[in-house]
């Protein structure tokens, strides 16, 4: 038997799902950061290693 409470519960649960989708898209964007910059940093690290203290 359907009830209004059930509908409200689904909507609440859907809000949590949206938050998860948002986080997944943020992760995707983070993972796709411009490679040239990231790779440049790696190369610089290789060429000029930080001084050992």
């Amino acid at each position: 038997m359907a009830s209004a409470a059930q509908a409200r519960q689904i909507l609440d649960s859907l809000k949590d799902d949206v938050a998860e989708v948002k986080q997944a898209v943020l992760d995707l964007t983070e993972a796709g950061k411009r490679p040239s910059e990231a790779e440049k940093k790696v190369v610089e690290e290789v060429k000029e290693p930080a001084p050992i203290r």
Binding site: S3, L11, L14, A24, A31, V42
Partner: protein, 340 residues
């Protein structure tokens, strides 16, 4: 440098005894000493040459190591992107299922008369808003896919969703609202003379240069009207075929000569001075019917590249998102039908 010097010194060392053999045999010091100096020169240049070559080898090895680090980093990044995409697809499933469940509940509540119309309207609006929020995230993900493909600047790729409404059967209040924002209508024509009208409904990240707009779509089944199709999204929807406008400055080259002249002028003026330089229009369907278009725009020309290879790769990388959009828009339609 040492390679050349090495040859010269060795050559001099070799020909010296041939020219001054008798002097060397007679042990004349003024000849023996230069000969000895040449011998020492050969030895020194050999050592210097070997050192130089070893330094070059070391440099090459270092460069190879650097390249290996970069390639390894790139592979790590691709793996990370692959995992992020898989995760995104995974979290898309629950909202789609729950929206269908919400529709069932609304349908039953209506049937049983256990909720008043205001409550039902609230549930419907809640469901539609949730679906829209997920759609916006999908649009952002599509823009990110295309941006990453071209390694383009952040925000240079934007995406939006256009929803299609069939003119016949469209509620009059909706039609009136759309009439107010419709562009590119043929001179002397009414919105009712078109087959569909498409409204720009949602953006991933909005483009401030493109305000709210609706566009009319002619019926491609009519040969004469097919020639009136506006390039881009209207053509994609009418022909049920993805379209690309590789250069907005050349958009009229994609239109038939029969396209109304006022529409041609309006189209050219619309893109003038805007950053958008190319866009792709991907048709969205519910069963065999068109329900909208996913637009992907870029501030550079040739968003799908100049050959089929890039186009295929990009379209394939977007297919799963297109499917999600179709499911969500379908869910919205079913929710509306259940609540009406």
């Amino acid at each position: 440098m040492y390679a050349f010097l090495r040859i010269i010194v060795a050559l001099l060392f070799a020909i010296f005894p041939l020219i001054f053999g008798s002097k060397l045999n007679a042990l004349e010091w003024s000849y023996v000493l230069p000969f000895a100096a040449l011998a020492a020169g050969v030895a020194v240049t050999e050592v210097l040459y070997d050192r130089d070559e070893a330094a070059k080898d070391k440099k090459k090895l270092k460069e190879a190591e650097d390249e290996l680090r970069v390639v390894s980093h790139r592979l790590d990044r691709q793996r990370e992107r692959g995992l992020s995409m898989a995760r995104l697809m995974q979290v898309m499933i629950p909202p789609t299922i729950k929206l269908e469940k919400l529709r069932d509940v609304i349908e039953e509540l209506k049937k049983q008369g256990k909720a008043n119309p205001t409550e039902i309207h609230g549930f419907l609006q809640g469901g539609l808003a949730i679906a829209n929020a997920v759609i916006v995230e999908i649009l952002k993900a599509v823009a990110e896919e295309v941006r990453a493909f071209w390694d383009a600047e952040a925000d240079s790729v934007k995406t939006n969703l256009m929803l299609a409404y069939k003119i016949r059967g469209c509620p009059s209040d909706l039609l009136e609202r759309l009439r107010g924002i419709t562009k590119f209508m043929g001179a002397g024509r009414e919105l009712e003379s078109y087959h569909y009208v498409m409204e720009l409904a949602l953006w991933g990240v909005p483009d401030p240069e493109i305000p709210a707009v609706a566009v009319p779509v002619d019926n491609a089944a009519n040969g004469m009207l097919k020639l009136q199709l506006i390039p881009g999204a209207p053509t994609a929807l009418a022909l049920l075929t993805d379209q690309v406008v590789p250069d907005t400055k050349e958009i009229l080259s994609l239109a038939a000569r029969e396209l109304a002249s006022n529409v041609q002028l309006e189209l050219t003026a619309y893109f003038e001075g805007k950053k958008i330089r190319s866009f792709a229009c991907l048709v969205l369907r519910e069963k065999e019917y068109p329900i909208g278009v996913l637009n992907i725009q870029w501030t550079s020309t040739d968003i799908l590249g100049q050959g089929n290879k890039d186009e295929d790769t990009i379209i394939k990388s977007i297919e799963q998102y297109r499917y999600c959009l179709e499911q969500l828009i379908g869910s919205q339609h079913r929710l509306q039908a259940a609540a009406s």
